[in-house]
């Protein structure tokens, strides 16, 4: 345990100090996107890896919040952070509705995935076609940047710290939840929900709790992402986005709170590390995905952990 804490401390210091000596805007940009995508992956893993529900609603939570933040700022005249809170509230209400429908009717596994995908698609089509409000397929340019503690968060380095902080907060929250009695309820639901039920665990309530909590974190990630990128588009809510998140979690490893960040980092950086022509790169990318799943079925973290355990035993 002590060595783990020491490791965590060293990694934190390293990441905090990184912009002091890494001056490359490109590297920092990749890291900002990785941290924000990491938030998505970690929060998705709360629903998927720990509670066992393959949600396809994550892109919708992400995208709806991104749009909502902008719209609240514009139409209610509130500041960025208030708008983020309102957007997170909106997403939690949507998640409660979608989650209640799915869990009340006891949709499981693939059925759950498909129904959440259906709701996600409806959200996307609404954003795409509600032209007066969302500017439809043309998207929206976001000029504003958030203010934090009297500083305007503009430029890559401030965003690096903001996104790192947001990711750290996400990890802390998820870690606390997973290693608490609530996390035990999640495990019970994932592994055998009927047994959990007879042991007095309100399966519906904790499924919903995981679903809403995951989506709210995704919502915050969406609000940050859009304002870092500086634009909104309906593509935020696309199926590809949800599938990308699943890929990140599986690459990183779903049995750990931290591991999906590795997947997010890998999948965000990978396209910029392989220098081939477009088609060949796509082929290489797909092959890496396939090979990782076949060779490391428990993800990077799971495989390393298994290897270490083996060594330890030997």
């Amino acid at each position: 345990m002590k060595s783990q804490q020491a490791g965590l401390f060293i990694v934190s210091i390293f990441l905090l100090a990184l912009p002091l000596w890494v001056k490359s805007d490109v590297v920092l940009t990749i890291l900002v996107f990785s941290w924000l995508q990491g938030m998505l992956a970690v929060s998705f893993n709360l629903i998927f890896g720990f509670t066992g529900q393959l949600s396809m609603f994550h892109a919708a939570a992400f995208g709806v919040a991104a749009y909502a933040t902008h719209l609240f700022m514009q139409h209610l005249g509130v500041g960025y952070w208030t708008a983020v809170v309102l957007a997170a509230l909106l997403v939690s209400v949507l998640s409660i509705i979608v989650g209640t429908i799915c869990f009340r009717f006891r949709l499981k596994e693939f059925y759950f995935a498909v129904v959440t995908l259906a709701f996600s698609e409806m959200a996307r089509l609404t954003v795409l076609n509600w032209n007066d409000v969302t500017n439809g397929s043309l998207g929206i340019n976001l000029q504003e940047k958030p203010w934090l503690l009297g500083f305007k968060v503009d430029g890559t380095v401030p965003w690096y710290y903001l996104s790192l902080f947001a990711l750290a907060a996400t990890l802390l929250v998820c870690w606390r939840v997973v290693h608490s009695w609530m996390g035990r309820c999640f495990s019970a639901i994932r592994l055998n929900d009927e047994l959990g039920d007879t042991l007095g665990i309100n399966v519906f309530r904790y499924k919903l709790a995981a679903f809403v909590a995951g989506n709210v974190i995704a919502a915050i990630a969406g609000s940050l992402y859009a304002f870092y990128l500086g634009s909104l588009e309906p593509g935020f809510l696309s199926i590809d986005q949800s599938l990308g998140i699943v890929a990140m979690v599986l690459l990183g490893g779903r049995s750990s709170v931290f591991a999906p960040v590795a997947g997010a980092l890998l999948l965000t950086a990978l396209p910029h590390l392989i220098h081939f022509s477009a088609e060949v790169r796509s082929i290489v990318y797909g092959s890496i995905l396939i090979l990782t799943i076949l060779v490391l079925p428990q993800g990077i973290y799971g495989s390393i952990a298994a290897l270490l355990r083996k060594r330890h035993a030997a």
């Binding site: 699943v246 599986l250 088609e279």
Partner: protein, 286 residues
């Protein structure tokens, strides 16, 4: 307006059988190997391009090109199964990711070979029928008939032959079937290859109706999965009706409601059905 409705009922049903043939592959693969093979979409694309290649480039007559295309797709399916899907049996999520990886690889390869210029097969069977004032291309009707025949033949084979019953028994209870002497790995490979062949057939027939581009399968397979679930995964005859219901919902939906939401109409229907009949409309039927 009645004529418009009738036309869309008919056209939706025809389009629905195309969804249905892929849905059948989805259903069979899921029943026997426990994964949802999204890569069936790219096998469909492969079948479509193969049919185009054999007719318009190699100069074979279309009726000959279709079986060739199906054979090519089945072969590709066999290779994919032995090289990849064999390792993801009964692992839904890993299977899903391997299919996504395969989609990336095969779509990019298709783009490399055939570019993004749409390919359009020459008219195989020009001409139209007029049914109560609704004009229906002959080829569409032919495709409808062929797909219907294949789906029904598959249904018959699954219910009347030994191998079919073995497959069905396996889907119901793998352990018992194994004890009864069903050779699992062969059965699984056989079903995966048959499913890809069905996708190839769907693609080859698709090629006679629509233009081809490398991404054609991705959207289609989503519809097929919707259809399979709508019907209740595991039901052969259900995948046909699931496809038709989806096709008709979209067709009729887009004449009375905004076209831009077309994809949502099927989804709304799907959600409604799953909520009130969670195992699908044809749950428990073969």
């Amino acid at each position: 307006m009645g004529q418009l409705l009738l036309g869309q009922l008919l056209n939706g049903a025809i389009l629905g059988t195309l969804y249905g043939i892929i849905a059948l592959g989805v259903t069979l693969t899921f029943g026997i190997t426990g994964i949802v093979n999204f890569a069936l979409g790219v096998f469909m694309m492969l079948g479509a391009y193969a049919a185009w290649y054999f007719t318009d480039v190699a100069g074979l007559p279309y009726p000959l090109a279709v079986p060739c295309a199906v054979a090519v797709t089945a072969l590709a399916g066999l290779i994919a199964d032995q090289g990849l899907f064999r390792f993801t049996r009964n692992n839904l999520v890993n299977g899903l990711l391997v299919s996504i990886g395969m989609i990336a690889v095969l779509e990019a390869s298709a783009l490399l070979i055939w570019t993004s210029t749409p390919k359009e097969l020459h008219r195989v069977l020009p001409g139209v029928f007029v049914i109560f004032g609704f004009v229906l291309p002959k080829m569409k009707l032919l495709v409808f008939g062929l797909l219907l025949a294949v789906i029904i033949a598959t249904y018959m084979a699954l219910t009347r032959t030994w191998i079919g019953r073995a497959a069905y028994a396996y889907a119901q209870n793998p352990e018992a079937a194994q004890l009864m002497g069903v050779r699992t790995s062969r059965l699984q490979t056989g079903v995966v290859v048959y499913s890809t062949a069905l996708a190839g057939l769907g693609g080859a027939l698709y090629a006679s109706l629509y233009s081809l581009e490398p991404t054609l399968g991705s959207l289609f397979v989503l519809k097929a999965v919707e259809a399979a679930i709508l019907a209740g995964i595991g039901s052969v005859i259900g995948s046909l009706f699931g496809g038709i219901i989806l096709g008709v919902t979209e067709g009729v939906g887009s004449i009375y409601l905004p076209l831009a939401f077309r994809d949502a109409y099927g989804l709304v229907f799907l959600v409604a059905i799953l909520l009130f009949k969670p195992a699908g409309l044809f749950a428990g039927r073969r």
